[in-house]
Structures are given as C-alpha cells and as structure tokens.
C-alpha cells in the first residue's frame, strides 16, 4: 500500500510537470502561440485524479492500523488473497440463462413472438441461478 501511494504521488507530480511543459511549449515554441486548453485541462485533471488516489490510499493505509501483506517482505502471495465472495464450482443455470437470452434477442431480430418464449426461460433460470445455494441441501 505504501508503494502504491508513493507511485500515485509521483504520477500526479509527473502529470502536473508535463502540464506545465506542455502549456509553455504551446505558448512560446509552437505554431499556436496560445494556451492549448484541451491538453492543458486534461493533464491538470489527470494530475488531480492521481493525487486523489494517492490521498485515498494514504488514508486507507493510515486507518488499517499496521502493515498489510503487500508491505511485508516475508509475506506469502495467499496472505493478500481476500475472501472474494461465494462462487459456484459448477452450475447448469448460466447455460440455460444464456439460452433464454439468446432466444430473447433472436426474437428482437427475427420475430417478437420468440422473445415471449425467451422471457420465461430467462426468468426461471435467473431465479434458479440466484437461489441455487439457498435451496435443497444448501438451505440454511
């Protein structure tokens, strides 16, 4: 997190420096002889965005109360591997929902009556997929 924070501070500084160079260059050393606003504003905003991220990461680092795995030289890869959510190891439902959606969009192209066949297939498979781990053996 510390390295990420510093990288974004450096990146923001680089954008502002490039912005200054670009503005001076367009003022004095190009055929424009005036400020080229699109590039100037875009690079200034890029710098500000990078500073936003650096500030946010800095605050997050300060609030976590200690070193995270990414800052420890002796950490393992899976120390920084958080619980991402619950994922099904395998399921038939995505296949059925894809079939239903294919019918729905085929109906838009070919004839609307096919869409009306697709809609209940999508409805059933959406609910089937969503509640797959909430029924039967998995009910809790």
């Amino acid at each position: 997190m510390r390295a990420n924070t510093n990288l974004f501070w450096i990146l923001g500084g680089f954008f502002l420096l490039a912005d200054a160079v670009y503005t001076i260059w367009s003022l004095f050393f190009s055929e424009f002889d005036r400020v080229e606003w699109v590039g100037t504003v875009a690079m200034a905003l890029s710098g500000i965005f990078a500073f936003f991220l650096a500030f946010y990461l800095g605050r997050t680092y300060a609030a976590q109360g200690g070193e995270g795995p990414s800052d420890l030289p002796d950490a393992n890869i899976d120390d920084g591997d958080p619980e991402m959510g619950t994922f099904s190891p395998w399921s038939w439902w995505p296949l059925i929902i894809a079939f239903g959606l294919a019918l729905m969009f085929l109906g838009v192209a070919v004839g609307v009556w096919i869409t009306f066949i697709g809609v209940p297939v999508v409805a059933v498979s959406l609910i089937g997929w969503y509640y797959e781990y909430y029924r039967g053996n998995f009910a809790r």
Partner: protein
C-alpha cells in the same frame, strides 16, 4: 462488479455521445422540442430517485451491522433493518419509473415520439435505457429480499449481495443526475 459498472459507464457514455452529436447537428429542433419538457416535474422525480439512494445506503449500513429486520416499531425508522430500508428504496424507485411512464405519455400526447425526429429518438433512447436499468435494479432488490427471507440467519454472504446491488443502484442514480443535467437543465 466494479469492472462491469465500468463497462456500463462506457455504454451510457455512448448514449450521451448520441445525444450531444444530434443536438449539435440540429440546434433549432432542440430549442423547439425542449420547450415541451416539464422541468419541475422531472426535478421532483429526480429528487425521489436521489433520496432512494440514501435509503439504499441506510439499508447497506444495516446489512453491515448484520441486521436484517427492524428492532423497533414500524415507524421507528432509526431501528430499521435491511428489509425495511430496501422495501422503501424499492417503493421510491418504483415511483420514479411510474413517473417516467407518465412523463412519456405526456410527451407522446404532445407529439414527441420515439420515431418522430432526432430529438425524440435521443430523448427516449437515453432516458429509456436508464429506466430499463432502474427496472432491473428493482428486480435485483426483490431478489436480495428473497435471499434475506430464504435464510434463518443473516450472514455476510447476504450482506455482500445487498452491498453489490447498492453499488449498482448508486451507479444508476448518478447516471440519472447526469441525464437530468444534460436533458432538463442544459437542454
């Protein structure tokens, strides 16, 4: 989730691009057709949708406390759980979509249709795709509530579902603020 919302941002960026391109090619048409818009009506509708984002977030805070249901009486909203807040959010979102339907009906009666001119096409494309997203969000709220009712113990898994749907809802809300500013304020 965040990556998918990023792709959604690009989708709506395309719709905004359509709107701005057509607007720059026919400014006279815009001046004539935007006069039909009922801005105070749309403002009220916007406020309803924005407030639904706040009630949604209150539901997320309840979910993060792992509190699915209220601990007090029905009117003691400060003791509400996820279920009560999401019901309220659903109602506000449904009122918004209903308001959109009435607005469409009103505009069609003033001869702004989907196929009448470039303004009608871009207006209904942008706001219509947004209304479709809101409707999908409403279905998602019902699915989340279904999960909460399906389990005996409210766990982090259900809380995560609620939080993910709230991300989507906030996204749809922010897109509407952009659409409102472009269509009703900027004209």
């Amino acid at each position: 989730m965040i990556v998918w919302l990023g792709s959604e941002v690009m989708f709506f960026a395309g719709l905004f691009a359509i709107y701005f391109t057509l607007r720059s090619t026919s400014p006279g048409l815009w001046a004539q057709e935007t006069a039909h818009l009922n801005v105070p009506y749309a403002l009220v509708n916007t406020l309803i949708l924005v407030s639904s984002s706040f009630t949604c977030q209150a539901g997320v805070f309840a979910a993060e406390r792992l509190q699915s249901r209220r601990t007090g009486k029905l009117m003691q909203f400060w003791k509400w759980g996820l279920v009560e807040w999401f019901y309220l959010t659903f109602s506000l979102g449904a009122v918004f979509v209903t308001g959109q339907v009435f607005e469409y009906a009103n505009l069609v009666s003033e001869h702004i249709g989907f196929d009448s001119n470039a303004y009608g096409s871009s207006f209904y494309l942008t706001t219509g795709f947004h209304a479709l997203h809101v409707t999908c969000g409403l279905i998602a709220f019902l699915l989340v509530l279904g999960r909460v009712f399906a389990v005996k113990n409210f766990t982090h898994r259900e809380a995560t579902t609620a939080i993910v749907v709230s991300y989507y809802w906030h996204f749809v809300d922010v897109v509407w603020i952009g659409l409102f500013l472009v269509i009703y304020v900027l004209k």
